[in-house]
């Protein structure tokens, strides 16, 4: 409390302008993520039952995945050039990326849609922070992150079964492709969600994406050309799942890596432009 005997000069001038920390901070987006992560955790820790539900869901999904994989390899020893352990790696990446999407990307986008509909986006837009950063880091569902752990375990098992093993270099490149993949999925989601500025209701989007994402369970290289291309450039699931799996199974070419990096960069710039364009035309939910 002011005047509680604290020896601060400002306590004698309660009307002094408040002080802000004005330093430039390149890690600001990460710090904001950390902040909201804390609040999200505080929120979700109240609902422990959700952890049980999530564990159950992840268990079922993992079980079905393994059974299907077993069935396929009961018939053949290779699918489009991929061995069983290699496909297990694809599955691991698929679960892991699914965990990232469901815990960090999708909840933010759904919140954005709700905020646009209810007009509460106004609170974000009047904060002295980059609005895109704010809407992208606000939500984190810790229980959904269970899939990140499950995916990691499946990956570890798959890698231990691969004859070649994997070096530090490949692991770093894998991490990089995973990051690029996540950026592309994020951009895809934000591009589509930004359309909510014009088309207010987009509830079905979630299901549509979920359905498409299931196709990433298999390497996109096994699909026919048109589908492969759509799943790579239209909805960048190929980049998000297949490419990291390629990095783990010594399939990744320099060209693919360069393409992934370039595509991620371009997509990010386009998304940022489109977001700002959307904001300029945002008319708000009228009161």
């Amino acid at each position: 409390m002011a005047g509680a005997g604290v020896n601060r000069a400002d306590d004698e001038r309660p009307d002094a302008a408040p002080r802000f920390d004005d330093r430039r901070d390149l890690l600001r987006p990460l710090r904001l993520f950390g902040l909201f992560f804390r609040v999200g955790a505080l929120n979700e820790l109240q609902y422990r039952a959700n952890l049980a539900v999530q564990l159950f869901q992840s268990g079922i999904a993992l079980g079905t995945g393994l059974i299907v994989l077993g069935l396929v390899f009961g018939q053949t020893s290779n699918l489009g050039g991929w061995s069983q352990s290699e496909l297990l790696a694809v599955m691991g990446v698929h679960i892991l990326m699914g965990g990232i999407i469901n815990s960090a990307i999708q909840p933010n986008m759904e919140r954005l849609m709700t905020d646009v509909r209810q007009g509460t986006l106004d609170f974000i837009l009047t904060k002295p922070e980059d609005a895109q950063v704010m809407i992208s880091v606000r939500e984190f569902r810790i229980w959904q992150a269970v899939d990140i752990v499950v995916g990691g375990i499946v990956l570890a098992i798959a890698v231990s079964q691969l004859q070649a093993g994997i070096g530090v270099g490949a692991a770093l490149i894998f991490a990089l492709t995973l990051f690029l993949g996540a950026v592309m999925i994020y951009c895809f989601w934000l591009l589509v969600t930004t359309a909510a500025f014009w088309v207010i209701r987009m509830d079905e989007l979630h299901e549509l994406f979920e359905g498409l994402y299931q196709s990433g369970r298999w390497p996109v290289t096994i699909y026919p050309g048109w589908l492969r291309i759509s799943l790579t450039f239209l909805v960048p699931i190929g980049f998000a799942v297949t490419v990291p799996a390629e990095a783990l199974t010594s399939r990744l070419t320099v060209e693919t890596l360069a393409l992934a990096a370039a595509f991620a960069a371009v997509l990010f710039l386009v998304t940022r432009w489109f977001w700002r364009f959307g904001l300029r035309h945002y008319s708000g939910a009228s009161a």
């Binding site: 409390m1 004005d22 902040l35 609040v39 106004d122 904060k127 002295p128 922070e129 009228s286």
Partner: protein, 345 residues
């Protein structure tokens, strides 16, 4: 002469909204061919507000109040004209500008629903990057003025509407903004709570010399806080001046209340009778005639008590809008059609 806190010149905002007739057939047609209509929500509004002023923004629903506030807080890009707030162009949404303003909306919350308000305050501190000591002092000061005590430790969802609104105010003012945009901040609150919020706004304005732009449907809010009001209707400025002058310029009448010693009498010869109960009769007379009518009443009748008052501000406002209504009735219809489409979209 100091720089005005808010300067608005010829501000305009036009919305392009899809319109369609009611019914399924029209709905299907609109899937293929959308018809649009331009709605001028704000149509060339100009005014300035000096630092430290509290200005009431009046107008019926759809008059353009909220749209103007949104343009001033950087949420909407004006279609035309200029707006300057604290020397900044709001639409550029610079951090230096956003740190000095705030927006409170009566029906919307920004605090975390499931958490105690204290956690949300901490988040707001971090977003505004406030010095921890400044932050704590401001926070505790507001908690004391609003008498929130231990409530800040309860999850927001467990608070009453009024308590939640007080928390919203604390959260919205933690960074001690110099310009406050308050859009119906007392909406739905009971009278005591409205009063509490009002006192708080007045106290904040007094302590920090902040400029306040307020919209409210409760005239009590406006009367208690604002010496100056700006009236807009159909996006145009109708009046800008003192609350008292509003009555003089739009309602040139006075209300005379008379109580007679010997019960009632027919006073219709003196003026228009507004009401007559418990022996007290209310007469409406034109402002110019008031002295003369009063003299006659006192001379002719056994008067026990006599009062002369300005008409209630609600009546004045009603009159202002009734006058302006005839002018652009079709525009209102258009605005309504818009609202209906937007709601059904």
């Amino acid at each position: 002469m100091t720089e005005p806190a808010i300067r608005v010149a010829g501000l305009e905002k036009t919305f392009r909204v899809p319109v369609r007739e009611a019914g399924l057939g029209a709905a299907v047609r609109s899937l293929f061919k959308r018809e649009h209509r331009e709605v001028r929500a704000v149509d060339g509004v100009s005014f300035t507000v000096e630092p430290g002023e509290i200005v009431g923004f009046l107008g019926p629903n759809g008059a353009g109040k909220t749209t103007t506030l949104k343009m001033l807080s950087g949420l909407l890009h004006p279609t035309g004209g200029d707006a300057t707030v604290l020397g900044h162009t709001p639409a550029r949404r610079q951090a230096a500008f956003l740190r000095r303003i705030t927006m409170v909306m009566g029906n919307r919350n920004q605090l975390q629903w499931d958490l105690p308000a204290l956690d949300s305050f901490e988040l707001i501190r971090a977003i505004y990057r406030l010095e921890p000591s400044d932050f704590r002092r401001t926070r505790d000061e507001f908690i004391e003025i609003l008498d929130l005590g231990e409530l800040v430790k309860k999850p927001v969802r467990n608070l009453s509407l009024g308590e939640r609104m007080k928390m919203e105010f604390v959260g919205a003012l933690l960074h001690r903004p110099q310009v406050l945009f308050l859009d119906e901040p007392t909406l739905g609150l009971d009278v005591t709570m409205q009063k509490r919020i009002r006192t708080f706004v007045a106290e904040y304005n007094r302590r920090y010399g902040a400029t306040v732009l307020l919209t409210s449907h409760y005239m009590a809010d406006v009367q208690a806080l604002c010496r100056r009001v700006i009236v807009i209707h159909h996006g145009r400025l109708l009046f800008d001046g003192g609350l008292a002058e509003l009555a003089t310029s739009f309602d040139a009448t006075k209300t005379i209340g008379v109580t007679l010693k010997d019960g009632s009498a027919d006073l219709s010869a003196y003026g228009e009778i507004l009401s007559s109960d418990d022996g007290r009769i209310l007469l409406r007379v034109s402002r110019a005639d008031a002295p003369e009518v009063t003299t006659r009443l006192l001379r002719d009748l056994p008067v026990a008590d006599l009062t002369i008052e300005d008409p209630p501000i609600e009546d004045v406002i009603e009159r202002v809008f009734a006058d302006a209504k005839d002018e652009r009735d079709d525009a209102t219809a258009a605005a309504k059609a818009t609202a209906a489409t937007a709601a059904s979209d």
